[in-house]
Symmetry: C2
Subunit: 358 residues, 2 copies
Amino acid sequence: MTTERTGSPSLIDVARAAEVSTATAGRALGGYGQVSERARERVLRAAAELGYRTNSLARSMITGSTHTIGVIVTDVANPFFAMALRGITDVAHPAGFEVLLVNTGRNVEAEQRAVTVMSEKRVDGIIVAAARPSRGRHLKQTIDAGVPVVLLDREVSGVSEADTVTIDNEHAAGEATRHLLELGHRRIGLVTEAGDEFDRLRRPGNRRKGLLPSALRLRGYLRALEDAGLPVEESLVATARYDRESAYEAAGRLLALPEPPSAVLCTDNVLASGAYRAVQDSGLRIPEEISVVGFDDEPWTTLVRPALTVVEQPDYELGLRAGRQLLHRLDGGSGSAKPQSVRLRATLVVRDSTACRR
Amino acid sequence: MTTERTGSPSLIDVARAAEVSTATAGRALGGYGQVSERARERVLRAAAELGYRTNSLARSMITGSTHTIGVIVTDVANPFFAMALRGITDVAHPAGFEVLLVNTGRNVEAEQRAVTVMSEKRVDGIIVAAARPSRGRHLKQTIDAGVPVVLLDREVSGVSEADTVTIDNEHAAGEATRHLLELGHRRIGLVTEAGDEFDRLRRPGNRRKGLLPSALRLRGYLRALEDAGLPVEESLVATARYDRESAYEAAGRLLALPEPPSAVLCTDNVLASGAYRAVQDSGLRIPEEISVVGFDDEPWTTLVRPALTVVEQPDYELGLRAGRQLLHRLDGGSGSAKPQSVRLRATLVVRDSTACRR
DNA sequence: CTGAAAGCGCTTACAG
DNA sequence: CTGAAAGCGCTTACAG
C-alpha cells in the first residue's frame, strides 16, 4: 500500500480547494480577523474534507505564544506532587493551556536541561519545584530571557523576580512540635532527610530561600524546642534518605537510643510511612508508649490503627495557586508587575496516634 | 526601565556577530552538517555572548519532529497513573523526549480536545488511557492523520492500528476470586464501579476491547464463580462511583445484607480504601469474620492491620513499556510495522486480610 | 471583506 | 567546509 499524499494538508491546500486566499482561509480557520459567512463556510467545508489540522508550530512562531506551560517536579509519583500537578492542570486546561511535564528525580542537571529545552520549545512560562533550592542560576537566566517562572514549594536563592507559591513549613513543623510539647513530651524524635543541615539551622536566621521544605521543618522543630526552653539533642534528629526503608531504619535508631524519645515527628509522607512501620514492628503501643505525628494527609493515615495525627498540606491548592499565578502573569496585565509571594498554611489534624506522655 | 532589544536574538544575530552565514551558524549550533573548528568556536562564542536560545518551533517545522509525546490520563493524582506516568517520563527523558500531559478527569470531550490539540501541536506520538474505551473515533482519526498512538491500560473499540500495553485484568480478578474460593468462601462480595455492566458481562464473550479495566475485573470475578459451579448473585455486586465515600457505602450495603458475604473483593485502590474503612467501622474482625482483598499494591496496604491481601499491578512497568513501545515506533524502523500488543500480568500478594471461612 | 506579499526563525539541498 | 536561496506553514500589516 502506498499513500498518495505525503504530508498532511496545509492551509494552502485548503485555500485552493475553497478558492480563496490563504489569508482568508487562515482567518476562517483561526477565528481572527473578518471573514464573510460565505467564505467561512467554504473554507470550513474544504478543511473538513481534506482533514486539515492547523499547524500550531507555525502559528506559535508568529504569535509568540505556544499556550503551553512547563511544569518541573522532582517526582510525579509522590502523591504530594501528583496532587499539585492536578491542581495545575485543572486551572491550565480550562484556560486553553497544555502542560509540558518534566520529572527531574531531584537531579539539578536534569532540571537545568529541562529549563533549557522548555525555553527553546517556547513555553509561555514555567512552574518549578526546584531540586536544589540553593542552585538557581539557570532559573534566573530563564527569567532574564523573558520566560516567567513560578517557584512551587521551594524558594530559590538568587531568584528574586519569580512568583512563589509555598507552604509555611517552619510554622507547620512548629505546630506539630508544640502539640507534642503540650502533651507533656520532652524527648521528641525527628525523622528527617535534612539532618545534615542541623548545625546550620541551629544558628540564628530566618532566611527561607535556598532551603528545602525538609530543612525548614527541621528548623521549625528546633525553634519550637528552644522556645519551650528545652535542650536540643542531636541524637534525637534521625537522618534518612528519601525512601521508606531508610526512614524505617532511622526510626529504628531513635527507638534503640539508651533514652528513647516518647514521641516521633516525621517531616514527610514517605518518611512517615517508613517510620510508622518501624514503630509498629518495635511492638511499642501507639499512643500509650509512643506518640507519632506524620506529614501530609493521605488516605492511609485514617486507615491505620491508631489513625495518624498529621500535618495536612494543601497540596492541590498549591498547584492551583501556582497555575493561577502564572496564567495571571501571562494575561499581560501583570506582565512586569512585581513578583507575588503566596504562602499557604498547613494544618495540624489531631487523631489517635498522639497522647499525653505516661 | 526600558529594555533595548525587543525579542531574543535569532540565528541571524548570531551569524552576524560571528561573521558567518546563518547556514554555518545553524550547523554549529544544531550539531548537524560539517563545520570547521574555527567557525564553530566563533559561533558558539557569539551565541553565548548574545544569550542565544534555539527556537525549537522553527526547527520542528522543518524537521517534522517536536521530540514531544502526548500523554493523556484520566487522573494524574491517582497513584496508579502517577506511577505509570513516571514510567513514561523515565524512558522519554533520557531519549530526549518531553511529555505533554493532559488530565481528562474521565471526560471524553476533554480527551477529544486533547487529541486534537496535541495533534496540532505536532507531538510525535500519543499515549492514552482512554476515558471511555467504547469511544474511539477521535483516536482512529488521529492515527489516520499519521500520529502513532499507544493505548495504555484500556483497549479501545474501533482502534486496531494502535499498539496496546495493558494488564490482564480479567485474569487478575479471577486469581483473587479463586484465592477466596480456595479458602472456602462461597459468598464473595464485590465492590466495583462496573456494576451496571453486570448483565452484559454475564453473557458469553471474551472481547476485551471497549471495556474498562473495572468491567474486565468484574468479568474475571463472574467467570471464576461460574467455573467453580457457584451461582452468581447480583446483590453481592455492589456498585460504587469512583471515590472513597461511595465505596464506603457500597461495602456497607454488602455487610448489611440479610446474608452478608464472608469475603469482599475490591477492584481498585480507591475503592479498596473506602471499603476497608467500612469493614473497620462495622466492627467485624478481619480476617476472622470477614476476608478482604484489594487492588494495587500501595504502601498503605502493609501499614494497616491486618495487612491487606492485594492484587499488585505493574503500574510503573506499564508506563515504561508504553513509552518504549512508542519510542520504538518513532525510531522509524517499525514505523509501519503491525501493532504490538503487550499484556502484563498482575500478581496476587497474599497477606493477612484473608483467611479460611469459619 | 479580501488578497498579495512579507516575514516568523530555522534547515536543507545545491553549488562552489 | 561555506554560503545564497528556497521553503516549512502559518499570521499580519497593508492596500484595495
